[in-house]
Point group: C2
Chain length 416, copies 2
């Protein structure tokens, strides 16, 4: 088993096959949760898993569990999962690469005639994207106790269609309770959705955790004034104050390089007229860092800077911290299984922090969890142009395979 | 005549009397050009001017000319003018203070029994504001040859009503050609619409000219990116580049203190989503300075700064200069008449540049012209809160009176 590798060509072809379900003219995929194309890809997955010797079952959140028996079938399964739903103008790889790499692992083990000690389980989590039904990571969230079952069922799309009704409509309101079993471990492969691996020419990211996040809304209030008759020193220009704050936010993030990121993404200027000095600017700040202590330090620096800049600029500023996510770390052993698998296969690898949320982040609350990142083109994701290379996915899937095998072996030793 | 002063109380009362035509609950005035309230105030003005011994006539642009005979009635009249139309949520003084100070000058001269050598003419120019019919300063523009008569007549309001038809509807499509006579000189009193006089505690501004103006549209193009997964050095953040440019524009203006003003008033960020690094920002720049050479120097600095900042920020920037106004200077003698009148009356005064357009700016093309500014509260204008003090208007009107008298005397000497 030592040098076993997945069939990269078959894996790539499989991804291209599923890209037809909701494929767009520009080469992307539009496969919204519980749509007809979602049903098509689910039906396809169930058939393929059954062909690979798995028992397929559906839980009440519509998540698909394909179980491959283990030697000791009473052990909690080692799971591989991700999602097959996409953004409205999504790509062919986000989530999909993870589910289908899992399928390829099962196929490869079948060909190699290897049975793991624990059963294996391939999972397609419902509604990871959150584009049609909010919030994102809904099914893995219910599975992990983050969301209530009733809360999820009541979620509505823009047309007022309920999550529960749409589940039933496409035939995926399953019998199994969510959750009704424990996972022995959980692994997820995903494209990085950022530029780090590609830029550094590294094949495998061993994901060590997810960064923490803080959202702010800042309202700067100065005074509207005539652009022609108001001398510079007499102005209370909310836009100039906002510009100073944007620059300082950039500086604060760079002060906590390389892991801190800060973004001013949403800006609304009033009255937004070319010959009126702006009296008010509303803008948002998105701050992320993997270390909660550093995040709190950045929070303090942000608040002090906003107060000082407002004072120096002759304006008032109100800061509201309207959303927080605490940083999380994946399981040390699972991370090590990923690192060791890359090492064994001779692939370049590095530790990396996930900048975005994934099903694995929620599952990590109830099972030892690890994640594998592979490079994607220009870091572009949530976009029809999203792209990666067959050799990257093949490498990632082989690492997934060996991480699973190592995990199975380690757990077998422990439970023996 | 040396110590003759206007009746400040009567002038203030007259202004308050006209504020009833279109008066708003908040104490402002809504008197759009050629509306029924505009007709009411015009009818009122014509009656008052006739009571003051003037002959009232209307030109084809609807401007009102109230002529007070001179000793040498063949001399071109010395005119005083401004406008009685307002912004939709305008104040009681913008334009109005100028017309009614002129009326007060005529009343004061009547009481003093003084007849000037040249005839005097009080003018209410149609459509200075440009709120209902664009462009602003329409009638003084046609009078001065800036606009064609047909162009003005074809102007439509938002409901598709034509300027010409509305002139006829309110009975102010006059018989006189526009223009059908020369003005010997022209004086206009106006609230400053800026904070300078009030802040410095100065009563009279002798307006030396109008600053030049340049408008720009700048489009910064970077790349949309995920706010969580894109490290700071990998970003092409259009908002950060815009912020740097806004700060530098501020610095460039301050470099040319005290007369340069620069405003970024209109900003549009795309995609304007709080967790996406902005890929594009559009913003405008409004630059003003009274000296064309300095304006051109600022223009060069702006262009160099935009190019350099774009380069340093890893974005592209496109700058379009989409509007230009050349600075203009008022007539030296007229400016001197204003300065001397303030001096004679013992009023504090200073030279000042007009930051905004006025009828006088167009009339200056066809007649020697001077302007008088008086302080207004907090520099606020085009607003129902617009305010000034009775003593400021009285002082301004007395300066207007003596400037007219000095001008008449000087011209009489010249023409003798």
């Amino acid at each position: 088993m030592k040098n076993l590798q997945v069939n990269g060509e078959r894996l790539w072809d499989t991804i291209m096959e599923t890209a037809k379900f909701g494929g767009t003219e520009k080469g992307g995929v539009c496969r919204l949760t519980l749509s007809d194309t979602d049903r098509q890809v689910r039906d396809w997955l169930a058939r393929e898993c059954e062909s690979a010797g798995c028992t397929v079952s559906i839980d009440e959140m519509g998540s698909i569990f394909a179980r491959r028996p283990g030697k000791v079938d009473t052990l909690p399964p080692i799971a591989i999962g991700s999602h097959l739903d996409t953004q409205p103008t999504g790509g062919k790889f986000d989530g999909i690469a993870g589910v289908l790499s899992g399928l390829e692992v099962l196929r490869t083990l079948n060909e190699a005639g290897h049975t793991t000690s624990a059963p294996l389980e391939l999972i397609d989590w419902t509604n990871e994207e959150g584009s049609r039904f909010t919030p994102p990571m809904l099914a893995s969230g219910v599975f992990s106790g983050v969301f209530e079952h009733d809360f999820a069922y009541a979620s509505e799309d823009r047309d007022g269609k309920k999550f529960e009704a749409e589940l039933a409509r496409i035939g995926y309101r399953g019998e199994r309770k969510c959750p009704d079993h424990k996972l022995g471990a959980y692994f997820e492969l995903h494209i990085e959705q950022g530029p780090v691996l590609e830029k550094e020419g590294i094949l495998i990211g061993a994901v060590t955790g997810m960064q923490g996040q803080k959202w702010y809304e800042i309202t700067v209030t100065g005074q509207d004034a005539h652009a022609g008759t108001t001398p510079m020193p007499a102005r209370h220009d909310a836009m100039v104050a906002c510009a100073r704050m944007v620059e300082s936010i950039q500086a604060i993030a760079l002060n906590h390089a390389p892991l801190a990121v800060a973004t001013v993404g949403h800006v609304v200027v009033k009255p937004n007229s070319r010959n009126v000095v702006p009296g008010s600017v509303f803008f948002t700040v998105d701050l992320r860092h993997p270390d909660e202590d550093v995040l709190l330090q950045i929070d303090r620096e942000l608040r002090e800077m906003v107060d000082a800049t407002a004072r120096d600029s002759g304006v008032e500023a109100r800061l509201v911290n309207n959303w927080n996510v605490t940083p999380m770390e994946f399981d040390r052993e699972c991370i090590n299984h990923v690192r060791s698998a890359a090492e064994k296969l001779g692939y370049s690898h590095r530790d990396i922090i996930s900048g975005a949320g994934h099903d694995a982040v929620y599952v990590a609350r109830v099972a030892p969890t690890g994640m594998i990142f592979i490079p994607c083109e220009n870091g572009i994701s949530h976009n029809e142009l999203e792209n990666t290379k067959p050799e990257f996915i093949a490498a990632g899937a082989s690492v997934l395979l060996h991480a699973i095998l190592a995990c199975d072996e380690a757990r077998n030793k422990t439970t023996r």
